[in-house]
């Protein structure tokens, strides 16, 4: 009976198209949100590194604000709250905006920490040969910073990928939502179990890698 309920293959076959669409939408969401988050986060970190103390304070306020808000609250605000201003973004765009705002704050922190960890001598060498601060950071500091922060970047990418599932709450037909809808069709938790297994299989390697990289840093 357990197997029938939780691993009902027929249920999967029946709801397969629905689940596939959901999976593809999640994939699409990840493909948009992760690069955008990294790009925005890097720009913010660059602004931090090149600006004066006012800019730096502004950075911290911005980043910590988005780190203090649950992403779901942000999503709900954008999806249900913005239409009152006439801004009807739709569930996909709302999801992208919320996830990018949230994700980029964490990415910005990671890149910022990476930049700050590069020895001052590298800046000296760049500036002493006539490079502007911008040229120095782009050609000398940032490449080195990125090599050092691969672990945390991957870790945050994993978290951001998992976070896409919250979009099910605003009825975006991504993977989790597809599972819930499928479940209501077949009165059977198998779709949920199936989706969980797919998440597990696909994200396990990344989670393993991130764990290993984190431990590598701690034991140095």
């Amino acid at each position: 009976m357990f197997l029938d309920n939780f691993f009902d293959v027929d249920a999967i076959i029946y709801t397969y198209p629905l689940l596939l669409d959901g999976f593809l939408l999640t994939l699409k969401l990840v493909a948009v949100v992760v690069p955008a988050g990294i790009a925005l986060g890097t720009c913010l970190a660059l602004i931090f590194a090149l600006g004066g103390w006012v800019t730096k304070a502004g950075f911290i306020v911005y980043v910590d604000t988005f780190r203090s808000l649950p992403p779901l609250v942000l999503l709900v605000f954008i999806f249900y709250g913005l239409p009152f201003l006439g801004l009807q973004l739709g569930s996909f765009v709302s999801a992208v905006v919320a996830l990018v705002l949230n994700g980029s704050s964490y990415y910005a922190e990671i890149v910022r920490a990476g930049i700050v960890a590069i020895p001052k001598g590298q800046w000296d060498a760049g500036r002493a040969t006539g490079l502007s601060r911008f040229q120095t950071i782009i050609h000398i500091v940032l490449p080195q910073a990125f090599r050092n922060i691969v672990g945390p970047l991957l870790g945050n990418t994993l978290e951001l990928t998992k976070a896409t599932s919250i979009c099910s709450i605003v009825a975006l037909p991504e993977f989790l939502r597809a599972a819930q809808v499928a479940q209501s069709h077949v009165y059977n938790p198998t779709p949920l179990v199936f989706v969980a297994l797919v998440y597990l299989i696909l994200l396990w390697p990344l989670a393993r890698l991130v764990s290993r990289m984190e431990r590598g840093i701690a034991t140095r």
Binding site: P119, G121, Q122, D124, A125, G126, R127, A128, T129, G130, L131, S132, Q135, H139, I140, P143, Q144, R147
Partner: protein, 247 residues
């Protein structure tokens, strides 16, 4: 020597917060002259050197390069740094670039040279310091002495008028020091104007045209090497030399 001095520094002061590290330093350097700055740590000699190319901003005072003041706020930092080369104690080579690319980076970005021209210049510079075959090596593959020579080549590549050396051999194992000093000697022979902060007293005595002794942010004595080493006038100079030479 009838030409005007290449570098004129007048009443240079630098404070970090409340602490005054440079208390009115004056220095005039002639074209082709080699000036060595001596002093114990905390004397301000490194800070002074870094003020010359404005890696540190002086709190007050003037610096003129070829008669043109470079300390005013609208002075072109970019141009200044093309004319003054700097070599650091910890080399500061870019670890993610080959020796060649370490040199071509500034040539392309700062001087706007094309890749081909920059690479030719870089190769020439590497030959000059005896490391032509290491062009494609990364800093991690080079010994300390080799890295510092690449750093010198990097500074020379922009064809500066003045070269600044901030304790160029202090971070090197003793057996590697010689190769770097040799390069500096060659530069001296080609009449490069240099200001060198160093602890290598033997080298200072042999290579310097003039020695400037600093203590607590001020110049306490300056003069020709022979005069300073054999008959130092100021008490601080005597103490410093005694400590190093055991005389």
């Amino acid at each position: 020597m009838t030409s005007a001095p290449i570098l004129e520094i007048a009443d240079l002061r630098k404070s970090f917060g409340k602490e005054e590290v440079l208390k009115g330093v004056n220095l005039t350097v002639q074209r082709g002259e080699v000036v060595v700055l001596l002093g114990s740590s905390g004397s301000g000699k490194s800070t002074f050197l870094r003020c010359i190319n404005r890696l540190e901003e002086p709190t007050s005072g003037t610096i003129s390069l070829n008669g043109v003041p470079v300390t005013s706020s609208d002075a072109n930092l970019h141009d200044l740094r093309k004319q003054i080369g700097m070599v650091f104690q910890s080399f500061n080579l870019y670890p993610h670039l080959t020796a060649l690319k370490n040199i071509t980076l500034a040539l392309r970005l700062s001087l706007g040279q094309s890749r081909k021209v920059a690479e030719e210049q870089a190769t020439r510079m590497l030959s000059q310091v005896g490391l032509a075959e290491k062009a494609r090596s990364y800093p991690s593959e080079l010994s300390g002495g080799q890295q510092q020579r690449v750093a010198i080549a990097r500074a020379l590549a922009l064809e500066p008028q003045v070269m600044l050396f901030d304790e160029p051999t202090s971070a090197l194992d003793p057996e590697l020091v010689g190769s770097v000093l040799e390069v500096i000697r060659l530069l001296r022979q080609s009449n490069m104007t240099m200001v060198i902060v160093t602890h290598e007293l033997g080298f200072a005595r042999e290579a310097a045209d003039r020695i400037v002794m600093m203590d607590k942010g001020e110049v306490v004595e300056e003069g020709a090497p022979e005069q300073l080493f054999t008959a130092p006038r100021h008490q601080r100079t005597r103490e410093f030399l005694k400590h190093f030479t055991g005389r």
